[in-house]
Symmetry: C2
Subunit: 334 residues, 2 copies
């Protein structure tokens, strides 16, 4: 049985979207058990399943504008903190939250703890590509500054995830840079390029550019947290802007456009599905002793369901324990 600790109070549509996602997941997956941390009455309002689900009541929660580290240290009874403690104390195998990202990172570092040998956990997501395969990118912003060694560790982590969870035999690892030539980039990226080329455990294919990642040039894209965060937000912003403009040009376009939109409904829906981040699951804070998964703040029940499905797949492959073994060997071998 896979035991998932869920922060029922985090996110724009909590607890409704969270609990409804859990309802669906419990029905579909007979091998999971969910612990819901949060306000019992508010959770019960939406909870329809009875088996394999426990409510751990608490009135405290972390707000989206709380200062992360302070919140984790002071709000000892917050739903997110209690869920992290359950993971730390091995009463749960993974944590899911759609709440304050910074606070979740802080909970990961301060409560759950890093895998020995990993300097800085990175935030990783599987992002969509036109061929439907997707690519894993990290660090998406867990850190504001990274060293070349961090980037090497992200390459190993991402490669490991692509291999074990996504079943890609020999994941192509690319370094996000400002050009494809080997000599490109600032000092950080030049040094990282060098480290990545010399690492035998990964299949490094060289530098990749942000313009090509959605075309599937690599299975794993390694980047520092500052750039990764900016690129992810640029992709999100552009996608939302275009889809928004498309929608408004359809609705404001008069009868002809409305009829056209009606005829195109299936095709547009298909496009939306391809671009839909919610079905790709959440962002994994990777490099911790247990998977902490962040679902988007605006997650609906569907996104929560998919994130639980993703956590289930991660737990099935035992990816984190395999990482612990790998990194402890490397550290000893140093």
């Amino acid at each position: 049985m896979k035991r998932i600790a869920v922060d029922a109070m985090g996110g724009d549509h909590a607890p409704k979207a969270i609990v409804e996602g859990v309802n669906r997941a419990i029905q579909d997956f007979s091998d999971i058990e969910v612990q819901l941390y949060g306000h019992e009455d508010k959770i019960r309002e939406y909870l329809t399943v009875k088996e394999r689900v426990t409510i751990i009541h608490t009135q405290e929660k972390i707000d989206s504008d709380d200062e992360p580290t302070k919140a984790i240290r002071r709000k000892k009874e917050a739903s997110m903190v209690l869920a992290a403690k359950a993971v730390k104390e091995e009463r749960a195998d993974a944590l899911l939250s759609a709440g304050n990202t910074g606070a979740l990172l802080a909970a990961g570092l301060l409560v759950v703890g890093r895998i020995k040998g990993i300097e800085r956990p990175g935030l990783m997501s599987t992002l969509p590509t036109t061929n439907g395969q997707g690519f894993d990118m990290l660090d998406l912003g867990a850190n504001a500054e990274n060293t070349p060694t961090h980037l090497l560790q992200y390459a190993v982590l991402g490669s490991f995830y692509a291999k074990t969870v996504r079943g890609i035999a020999k994941p192509r690892v690319g370094l996000l840079n400002n050009g494809t030539e080997a000599t490109k980039g600032d000092t950080l990226h030049k040094e990282a390029y060098d480290l990545l080329s010399r690492e035998p455990s990964i299949h490094f294919i060289g530098n990749v550019e942000a313009r090509d990642v959605m075309h599937g040039v690599a299975d794993v894209v390694v980047t520092d947290g500052f750039t990764g965060n900016a690129v992810l937000k640029a992709i999100e912003g552009t996608a939302m802007t275009i889809m928004g403009s498309l929608k408004s040009s359809l609705t404001s376009g008069g009868f002809k456009a409305k009829l056209g939109a009606l005829l195109l409904k299936d095709s547009l829906y298909q496009l939306k599905e391809t671009m839909d981040y919610s079905s790709a699951g959440g962002a994994v804070l990777f490099g911790l002793k247990a998977p902490l998964v962040k679902s988007h703040g605006s997650s609906d029940a569907q996104a929560i369901y998919h994130t639980i499905k993703q956590i289930r797949a991660m737990l099935a492959t035992d990816v984190v324990n395999q990482l612990v073994t790998t990194f402890s060997k490397e550290v000893q071998g140093d």
Copy 2:
């Protein structure tokens, strides 16, 4: 009369697209004079205008895969180098090229030269926003590494451009960062934030995120060249991916989808126009003694025409000479 030196041999569709863009611009703007640098016979094949246009023949040109600095130093007769020399020697007021970006940057630094007081020229573009206003962003990749002082200079440069060329009375300047709070970012961005807040000549509105720039949160977005390059390429890649998927889901969607697409043609065209970078002109290498403007490598005649229009507007406001005055004062005042 505004004298524009045009590299007729740079870009994927050169010299055809370049010359056709020039034809149209000469017809529309009676106050410009164009010098076409490149292979005379190949240029004549497309040139339809006769007045206010000169051909300066040369057989040498810089290729897209040439190593930038080496190419500028060795290919002394290349169309781009001759055009840069004309600007340097004040036989032309501005340069337009759709060729090798790195080489154009090198030509700017080595041939044309920096404005006194500006440490590192930045690459700047006016990018589209949903409200049609657009925003200026720099540095988009002229530099792989920047200091806080460079970022301050970009804020002053961008603000100057938005004011004089785009007519925005009090341009809102934002610093691209990984969160909107004042304390966000790595060391570079924290220090830049501090410098920007203390600069009296600009209207600094704080940090902005890549996700919001297309919604017009700022008129000028300041960023280091590494991040700016990645964000620009992420925006381009995402827009192209979505438009491509839209097109393929329309054409593969059977009769109903095709009929729908036909009815929607106007609305989709309007969307494409909003997102169209080509009508916004080229990227200006800003901080040099004269404007060097880079049009996209894949520019068609329409994009070249719009870039000439943009250069004409810049020359009309005399923005570069105003900058020279401003920065020389600041340097003396130090």
